[in-house]
Symmetry: C2
Subunit: 397 residues, 2 copies
């Protein structure tokens, strides 16, 4: 299958591109290297020594004999070049990772909020408009987030995109309907994925585009079998307060003898998935597209849920690290429960990598091997969700 991967140089996009290529798909990466530029802005770098795109792709060709194409193109800005690419490549599928993806980064300042909204909405909308304009019949697979649903609610498991409800008809009787799950995003970043959902709904309805939206949990782990084949293929590892996600951050902190920083009480329950499952899920989604005429297909891409303080305790037990409870920068309830339906990927054959399977060690080995590259000043999260935290809320909004 001919696949264009938008954002194929990033933490999820790169291993996905290699995985699809190794499975025999014809892959072209589109990326404007914005994630590397943000590293420059934040004066940080991936813990792992990632190579420039040209070096990575040359190494992949050497070790696998597969060729991956590359275009440096800004999906949110270079609309005409995007159309030319779609007309030239005529892909069977497009995987869309090309969005700013860190919640703390999106909350750093008005400039960061505005960049995140402008970039993410225009990237997604340019893609949809270009697909219509070029009569591109590709299946679009988009990376959404579990964060569109919000946490809390009734205690029922979060369904895969669509919620069965009862509403009143004209005669006042309750009738059954299924609606797009009401959104309750927790940051400007998460909100942009809510906006994406509405864009997908409309272009699916009006232009019959075939779209899969994957609501992904927090990704942990670093390497996949493909990125491990050569050090020049290594995946990026973020440990900083903006881009480092919670479990990887704890493992990194343990590896360098820094206390595990738990935000607030650590009572937040979150959904997780290992990077090895991310890349498998993307291929499963590509191989199982919606039919022509179907509504947007939404799948929950996560494999387990954990409470943040339980993760901290697990890592502390494994490593002897100390736990520090620090102020929560986010404006959120101190505790939440979370149950999530994820039958779709299990039924398609996914056998999840779970925390118990020893891959925690793999991350810690990476963290230890490259700990000399770590700048501990960058570990704390300095973004704040509100001007003042005086009015921190007590319950889920």
């Amino acid at each position: 299958m001919k696949v264009v991967v938008l954002g194929g140089d990033g933490f999820c996009g790169w291993p996905t591109s290699l995985h699809l290529s190794s499975r025999g798909h014809d892959v072209t990466i589109v990326d404007n290297l914005s994630r590397r530029n943000i590293d420059n802005e934040l004066e940080i770098s991936s813990l792992t020594p990632i190579r420039p795109p040209g070096d990575r792709l040359a190494a992949w060709r050497q070790v696998s004999n597969h060729v991956i194409g590359f275009r440096n193109l800004d999906v949110a800005r270079d609309y005409d070049r995007l159309c030319a690419l779609l007309e030239h490549e005529r892909p069977d599928a497009i995987v869309h990772f090309a969005e700013q993806r860190a919640a703390p980064y999106s909350m750093k300042s008005a400039r960061h909020k505005r960049y995140t909204v402008d970039n993410n909405v225009n990237a997604t909308h340019n893609l949809l408009a270009a697909m219509v304009e070029t009569a591109c019949e590709a299946h679009l697979v988009h990376l959404g987030t579990m964060g569109v649903y919000g946490y809390g609610s009734t205690g029922a498991p979060i369904p895969e995109g669509y919620l069965p409800v009862r509403i009143r008809d004209g005669a006042g009787n309750w009738v059954d309907r299924e609606i797009l799950h009401p959104a309750n995003p927790g940051s400007v970043y998460h909100m942009t994925k809510v906006l994406d959902q509405q864009l997908f709904f409309y272009y699916n309805k009006n232009d019959s585009l075939r779209i899969t939206d994957l609501h992904q949990g927090i990704v942990w782990g670093t390497q996949t079998p493909e990125t491990e084949r050569d050090e020049r293929l290594i995946n990026r590892f973020d440990y900083d307060g903006d881009y480092g996600t919670v479990l990887n951050r704890f493992l990194m902190q343990a590896a360098i003898g820094y206390p595990l920083t738990v935000h607030g009480t650590g009572g937040q329950t979150r959904a997780f998935i290992h990077i090895r499952d991310t890349v498998r899920c993307i291929e499963l989604a590509l191989l199982n597209p919606p039919e022509a005429g179907d509504r947007v297909l939404i799948r929950n891409q996560m494999t387990e849920t954990h409470r943040v303080r339980d993760l901290a305790r697990l890592v502390a037990r494994l490593t002897g690290a100390r736990i520090d409870f620090v102020d929560n920068p986010r404006f959120e309830a101190p505790d939440n429960d979370l149950a999530v339906e994820n039958r779709q990927f299990l039924e398609l054959g996914l056998r999840p990598v779970t925390l118990e399977e020893g891959l925690l060690q793999e991350v810690m080995e990476i963290a230890r091997r490259y700990s000399g590259r770590c700048n501990p000043d960058r570990i704390p999260c300095r973004s704040r969700w509100r001007r003042t935290h005086a009015a921190q809320i007590g319950t889920a909004p």
Copy 2:
């Protein structure tokens, strides 16, 4: 009350600004004159001879002794100047009309779709980010659209923003909730107002901004008591296929002896409001803001519903005009019913101007008086909702 009116040079913004000024409020208009520039692009002009902003405002000062301020500023682009304005003016309220507001224009081409999304989303988000950054405590009143709800559904009247539903809790029991009404927009333009709703939801939740979102029906009529005070104050009148809304377009067509062009079967039922009620509703909304800590207050700003072919027959009966049924450019069901709740404004004291009250004559007099300025070539709608209309749908999507 000190009020900043974003988009205060447009069809609704201008008479609103005059009405608020005449009622003693201290008004500053912000506008980048994009609507006048679109007239240039479309090679069309308002049927009525609208004056440049400076002339209009000088005339208002002469006839009313009130001063309205004016800033030529692009809310979607000039973020720093927007912040400076908010810090300088410290308004009590902001009325936000500063969006591209024509569905057919938003569907003309990929460029028009992209402009509408980019302009409308960034205008609204810049405003929200600027209000947070400058600690602006103004009440924000936004012009939404009835089109966010979509037409059709269960036959129950469309509520004012929030829909009572039953959902299952963790034990499988149905529990009552109230959710933001599911969105089903009919064009890229309408979709941008759906995106606005999600922006408002988030900024209200995270930053406690006080926001009223007014879901307005199709506005008819031209003049208000204030715009009638001097010909230099005249309001714009759009009769073209992009910006001319259905009832005003019929009245114009009748005035120049052009057949009334009904799209499809004319079975579409739409919600309407007279421009005189629009300006009254805005002041009522300003005088009745949500309390600090309230969710986004949503009001339906419409006064009656009509089926399009009934309006055509009414105008034909009054004028002797012929009715032409032409292809529907929109991708929509040929027929729909529509019932809408609008108790909020009635309870605040609105006494609606209805079609029966003779103001149809007022519009036809305007249309006749300026018919020499009409270019009949511009009357048909040339936008198309889909690349091909082969697959026109038979029922509401």
